[in-house]
Structure formats: C-alpha cells, structure tokens
Symmetry: C2
Subunit: 428 residues, 2 copies
C-alpha cells in the first residue's frame, strides 16, 4: 500500500488554477499551498505547536544544510526529521542542487534564481553578491558524475551525486524528496544551459533509480525537478522528458529568467506538458503577487522564506483592508518592490509606539489575538527575541490564510476578485 | 477591600525556612519562590503561555528599562504591564535604585552587588567592569533630592526621585512596587555607606507617601527596600527603621558584601528584626546553592536572571541525578563557580550530538517531553532562535520545580536532605 495519493478536487473554469488534495503519511495537504522553509529542521523561532497553530500544511527543509549539520545519519538515528524536530507535519527536502548554484555561479555572478536584470540596469549586479566565509571564490565543481563542493561552514570538501542526494534524503526521511539537478544561472548561455539540462536529465534518471534503492514508496514520494532556464525549447524538452519518468510530482526549478515576466513564461511552457494528475511545485517562490500569477498558471505548491525572513527584518504582512488603514496614516515606506506594497508593513515604525491595535485587526492568528503593534514595536526596538517568534507566527499564518482564501475563491469562482484585492497591476 | 494577603502556612522546626501564601490580584503565590526576570516586559524569548506552563508564579520587571523604553505612560495607555505584555501573572517592579548603582559606582569600580573580592585577590576587579555605550564614565549623580542619570540607550539626561520612581511604577502597574533606594558598592567606606543609608531611609519615607499618592492599595502592594551594606550595625539599623514603615513586605538590597559568606551574614542580621508576617524578598540572587542557604535564613522571594541568561549562554540546569549521569560521561566542564557544578551542563558539548535523550530525563517541562539533547545541540550550533526558547523554558521550569520541591521538603521536614542532594559543601 502506498502512503500517498493525489486528487484534483476542483478546476477553475477560466485559468489553470485548481484545488487538489495530497494525502501523505503525516496528514493531508490542500493545495494551492505554501510551505514555510525550515532550513535546519526548524521553522525559525517557532515550536512545532506554534507552526501547527498557523495552519501550515507542509514545510521545506534543506538537504545541503542538514547533510552538513547535524548530518543525515544523526537525523536517521533520531528516527527521521519528524521525530528529530518534533514537527508532525508533511515535510519536503530539496535535493541540494540549488546550493550547487548558490555556492557556485550565484556567488560568481551575483545573481539569484531570477536575475532581476533589465536592459541598461547592469549596475544592479554587484549589490546582489552573496559572499561566503571564503570570500568571493566559487566553491563548486560540477562534472557529469558528481558535484564537488566546499562546506560554507568549515571549508571541508564534499561530494554530492544523484545517488548521494537520494541516500541523504532517505536518511533525513521527509515525506517528499527531489531528484538531484543542476540549477543554472540566468546569466548562463543557451549552449551551457542546454548541456546542463542534458546532465540534469541523466541525473534525474539516476535519481529515480537511487530513490527506489534507498526509499520506500510508502513513506517517501519522489518529485522530479524540471529545468531548462528561460529558454522555451529547453523547458519544453525538460517537461516532456520528465513526464516520462515514474514519480509522484514535479518541482519546477530556477533559473527562472531575468524578471518575474520570464518566470511566468517558464510556467506557461512547462506545466501544460506535465501530467495533469500530479502536484506541481515551484521551487523557492512566494511573494503574494507571484502566488496569484503562478496559481492561475497551474502551480499547486510554493515554498518561500518570506514569512520567516521578513519577521527577522521587522516586517509583517497584512490584509489589503488593513494595509489601506496603514497607508492612510502614511505608515508605509516606499522601500521594496512596488508590487509588494499592498501588504507589507514595517513594525519598527515610530507611529506604532502608541498603536494599541493588533498587527492586523482582521487577522485570527495567535499574535493578533494577544498583542498590540505597540508591544511588538517595543520588543523589536529592545531586540527582544519574542518579537521574532510573534511576527513569524503572524506571517506564516498570513500565508496559510491567504492560501485558504485562494482555495475558497477557486471553488467559488471568485479568484479574479480576490487577486484584484491583493495585487496591483504589474509594472513590467 | 485590599487585593493582597500574606499568611504563613508552615514553619520549619530547625531553621527560618517557611512556606507562605501571598494573594495578589493576579493570583496566589506559594513561597519560597523565584521570579524569573522580565526586564523589558518580556521573559526573554517566551510567550505568556510558555511562561505559565513552566509553573512560574511571579515575574520581576525593571522600572529603569521600562521608563526609558517604551516609557511608563505608554504601558499605562495599554492598560498596564499585564495587558501590555499579555502576562497574566503577579509582577513586581524594582525601583530603579539598583541602576543608580550599576550605572554609577559599579562601572567606576568594576564590581557587582557582591564584590567577590578576597584578600590578596584585587586582580579580579578589572574583569568585572561593565562598560556602557559611553565607555567607562560614571553616568549618575546622587543628591539628597534626587538622582540625575544619563540613559544607557541614547545618553539623554533623566531625573529620578522617590516620587518619580513610585509614579512611574504606578503607571507600569505591577502588583508589587519597591521604595526608591541607593544601592551602595561593596567597596564603599563605612562612612559613605552610613550616610547613604540615612538618605535611603529618607527616600523610603518619601516613597511611602508617594505610593499612597499614586497607587491604590487594592492593586499595588509596597515592598520597602532594606540597605546597609555588609555592616552589621547599619543592617540592623535599617531593618529596625524599615520595620516601622507601613508596607506589605521587604526587599533586601545589595551591596551584599565581599563574598557569598557576607551575603548570608546580612540575612542573619536583617531578617529576624523584620516583622514575621511579611514576605522577605532578596533582590537579584538565585543560584541553586544561594537559594538553599537563603531559604533557611528566612527568604521567601528570589529574583534572578540565571534561568534566562544561562539559556542564552547554552547552559541548562539539571537535577542532581541527571548531573551524575552527565558527570560519569565526563560531559561537565570545570568552568564556573565550583558551588554550581552540581547542576549546570553545557548544551553545545560535542558528546551531545548523538544523545537522543531529553536535557533531563527526570524533568517534566515541555522541552524535555518533546526534544532531545541532540536536537537542542544542533539548534545551538546552527544559531537557531528556537534553542533559546526551548532551554529558557527548561531552565525557568527547573527553578519553578526546585522551589516546589523546597516547599514540599519544608512541610515534610526533609529540607536538609533535599539541600544535600543539590548542594556540595561550600568552599568558603
């Protein structure tokens, strides 16, 4: 008996948006959903009970980080990641392939999975450079057989291959595991991206074999990673190739081009060519605007560091109605992508010192039931750790609630109306 | 009707140890008890529910810090500190007097409330120097009328007097408020300590008047601070003077001498001269050994940063039985006061990486019911905030449980046996 099921519960009449159910050994997931990231087997600052209470259905943990520390064998000895972390929710691990990119060409070229480079705007590149302890050196060497990389923690040398990735993911023991891939850079040439994609496909085949060697299909489901950069023919080739592999679902990997516009094109090229009755996961994406644009192109699962990272950056997410109230009091800064301005507010704003309402009066999360903006403002200003927990709870709940609203709107046929409430017209 | 009551439930036959009940508007407190410190209206990293679940009965917040940030008027506007912080437990505020010391002669001379200076050991002094943003300058000027000090946050100038302290404490709205005092240095001369004590007594009288002006006796109870340094006649004079003031109870302030031995002498001189039917609070003390030594000298209430601060320093407290198990595996370092060695263990020890038992298998706290040493070791090594919450929960619970054991042992007549389990003979 297989511990996993996937079924489509409702399809939108006008778009590719849909509501589905995924059954896993750790409970059912209603999609579309967003997985907060728990890189190191903890959703930063939250207890398992606090995570559960936000309505979160799935968590993404990072194989590369857990392999280095505490080590996959230790997690296995603890009984797997669920017992190790005491998180009794479905968990997905990535394959480590993204770190091949982020330790390699991402450092070399100073870009993320979307380059955000516009014509005449090359000046942005240097600002994005992510430095490591070893400075600006590339830490990765990729061959057909394997990837050799140095740990960002201590510089020690490690070898990762499809077989190694799947073995490590089996030891970690998440519900969903991913095939090992090379994530190319948005700056790579067509020719390099094509050669890399061929390698990623060979690795996918090896990953499928390794998955059957190391994992039980009852306890771990395999997602195949689709690549191909921002090139239509490569994305289509990849989608067609991956469709032929035996697996549970698909994770669409970056690079996703030079702008959010390219990212949406990638989805339009890819998703229609993948089997309909499989979950589609878009790796590492999750701003509110993106979620709406991607759900209507057929994405079922997102994962993103925004809810946790923004809390550490003193930023909370609020509903459009509450945002208007903030906005009318000129409490919103102009910082950040203008597409995000409809829902992000800074909690260290001086105007909040005397504001005795919750972060979002319309929100039902633990934090908004118990604490005021004034108290949270005070905690941030005093560098008190409780601020991070409280706003992380709120932000994670914000996304869980948003995804619930999205599922409801798809079923009710009111998706376009909901999107209009949250998203202002794109500027691209 | 007065919202406060004090009653003695049981007295030890051999010592001054006793079990008492204090009724407050926010619930009853069984003593002896230890109040974790919540300096900035938060017990560092814990939610109110997490604090409650540890069995904590009382919290101490710092008037000086809350006065500077967020400001007492803001806490009053929120409805008082209980509503501001959502902590529905009895809370005590200190008077700000200790900061007069810690910003003043403590910086100048490099000493704490116990000097820890032994004959021929003057070399220790420089290591204790607490520096502030303004470097090594003394930030305080004390006159009979008031204290003028500079904020450690921004250098701004502030005036504190008995009247101001009690007004601020009334605005903060804790259950217990303290009279304003000058805390002298263990290095001060007899003559300075005597003159300072006379001023502290004049301030105590002014504080009593201010308390009646600003506070309702139904919602706030007054503790009078006893001073006198490590001089027997001054401590006796202070106890006799303070006994005559109308108040709910007494807080015994530092300086407490040049060693823990002096501190115990101070208690022996002071407590017998104070009215029996009042709670005795020893300000800022709370290592395990100290607690046992002080309870049998008549202390009812302790407050201490150890449970929270040690968690941030990767240190957990364990029962003597569990300590022996650690010890037998050579997991205990020799760092720290040898008197503490019977219960403190470092959680980043490499040997814990593969240890899948709870911090203390005998402990009933949330953390020990759910997580292993291996996971907590991992969280600390990965600098994950959850480590601080989990070990703070454990450490705060450790003290709540210790105080419960102490109360039970007093009632059962087994106090000496319990003490022997926790405390090794003093080296002084």
């Amino acid at each position: 008996m297989n511990g996993f099921e996937f079924r489509i519960d409702h399809k939108d009449a006008d778009t590719r948006a849909r509501v589905c159910t995924i059954v896993t050994p750790h409970g059912s997931i209603s999609t579309p959903t967003l997985a907060p990231v728990g890189t190191q087997a903890t959703v930063k600052s939250l207890t398992p009970e606090q995570i559960q209470a936000t309505g979160t259905q799935l968590i993404l943990a990072n194989t590369y980080h857990l392999y280095l520390r505490p080590g996959a064998a230790r997690i296995a000895a603890a009984g797997g990641i669920h017992k190790f972390s005491a998180i009794d929710l479905p968990i997905m691990t990535d394959s480590g392939g993204f770190q091949v990119f982020s330790l390699g060409s991402s450092i070399r070229d100073g870009v993320g999975k979307i380059a955000n480079i516009f014509p005449g705007d090359r000046s942005r590149v240097p600002h994005n450079v992510q430095r490591t302890k070893t400075g600006n050196n590339v830490l990765v060497k990729v061959t057909d057989e394997e990837v050799v990389f140095r740990s960002h923690l201590d510089g020690s040398l490690h070898h990762f291959s499809p077989e190694k990735s799947l073995e490590v993911q089996s030891l970690i023991g998440a519900d969903f595991v991913l095939t090992f891939d090379e994530c190319t850079s948005p700056l790579d040439t067509y020719e390099y991206t094509r050669l890399s994609l061929e390698r990623t496909h060979r690795w996918a085949t090896r990953s499928v074999d390794a998955y059957h060697k190391f994992s039980s299909t009852n306890s771990q489901a395999l997602q195949v990673v689709v690549q191909g950069g921002a090139y239509r023919d490569l994305r289509e080739t990849s989608a067609q190739f991956c469709s032929q592999l035996p697996c549970f679902g698909y994770s669409i990997g970056g690079s996703l081009g030079r702008s959010k516009f390219d990212m949406l094109k990638v989805l339009e090229w890819t998703i229609p060519l993948l089997p309909e009755s499989t979950p589609k996961h878009l790796l590492g994406i999750g701003e509110v605007t993106d979620i709406f644009d991607c759900v209507e192109r057929g994405v079922d699962i997102f994962d993103c560091v925004i809810p946790t990272r923004w809390a550490r950056n003193h930023t909370a997410l609020v509903s459009p109605t509450t945002f208007e109230e903030f906005n009318s009091h000129r409490l919103v800064s102009e910082r950040g992508d203008s597409n995000d301005l409809k829902y992000r507010v800074g909690m260290t704003n001086s105007a909040l010192k005397d504001d005795y309402t919750p972060i979002d009066p319309l929100c039902t999360c633990y934090t908004c039931q118990r604490f005021t903006r004034a108290y949270i403002n005070h905690l941030y200003r005093a560098s008190e750790l409780l601020a991070y927990s409280l706003v992380t709870i709120h932000n994670v709940h914000f996304f869980a609630n948003l995804m619930t609203e999205i599922r409801k709107a798809i079923i009710d046929g009111t998706y376009a109306t909901l999107k209009e409430r949250y998203v202002r017209p794109r500027l691209t």
